[in-house]
Amino acid sequence: MRKLMYSCEQASKLSSRAMEEPLGRLDRSLLRLHLMMCRGCRNFSRQIAFLRRASRKVPEVLEKDED
């Protein structure tokens, strides 16, 4: 039987994949369960979303860098 609790490593991997494509129903539920109980992974998941926001701003920042 598949282990029902994800490790932080699995959970963070899934958080990253979820930014690229919708997860299957089981993965989604197990990830949510893990995130409810794990502050580190919650922070990770927020942080990678922040890093995406930052990255998407790079062209704009390079634009403002005008000399």
Partner: protein
């Protein structure tokens, strides 16, 4: 219809007009150079990419003249030049991504043997305020450059250039799961570097 008295031939071909467009072009060139440097790291490579871009743009002279969003258009040509360059030099092509090892950057040992965080990510507070800080962007760029080069390129194709995962897989001829692995490693590495060099300080 509307009168066409604006087509009087004076806007094109006057000396003033040429100087104007030379200046505009120069400012675009500088921007393209910063953009290329961000992705390529080496200034000689970046110069090649920008030069190729301008040559390609000038070859489509008609399109070039009529563009209102000239910079956007040039940037989209540059993106492809950057990817081509990296591919041609045989770097950045993650042939062996499945053998990502512990040596692959600072993210290699984020977890212990049972898959728990060695150093669980701490709260970054309200990080978006940092967008206003020039120093933040310097740290961010440094951290991107600390990743292995092929990871950095894949990451910035996805996150900075905003290309779709399908497009990246096709361009680099890698599988979707390879791409996910690379993006994941890149994110681990970048967040750990940003924690160390920005958020752990007095900034957050």
């Amino acid at each position: 219809m509307t009168p066409r008295n604006s087509v009087d031939g004076r806007e094109h071909g006057t000396v003033g007009g040429n100087e104007e467009s030379a200046r505009t072009l120069e400012s675009h060139r500088k921007y393209l150079m910063r953009y290329a440097l961000f992705h390529l790291r080496e200034s000689s490579l970046a110069e090649d990419a920008v030069q190729d871009t301008l040559i390609a743009a000038l070859a489509q002279h008609d399109a070039f003249e009529g563009r209102s969003q000239l910079r956007t258009w040039l940037t989209s040509i540059l993106k492809h030049k950057i990817i081509d360059l990296v591919r041609k030099r045989g770097r950045g092509l993650p042939v062996d991504v499945l053998q990502l090892g512990e040596e692959d950057g600072p993210a290699g040992n984020s977890f212990n043997a049972s898959g728990r965080w060695v150093d669980p990510p701490a709260d970054w507070g309200l990080p978006d305020a940092a967008f206003e800080s020039k120093q933040f962007w310097r740290v961010y760029q440094k951290c991107c450059q600390r990743m292995p080069e092929r990871h950095a390129l894949v990451f910035s194709m996805r996150e900075v250039m905003d290309l779709s995962t399908e497009e990246i897989c096709k361009k680099l001829q890698i599988s979707k799961s390879n791409l996910h692995v690379i993006l994941y490693r890149a994110r681990l590495s970048l967040r750990s570097c940003m924690t160390e060099n920005w958020f752990a300080g007095d900034h957050a």
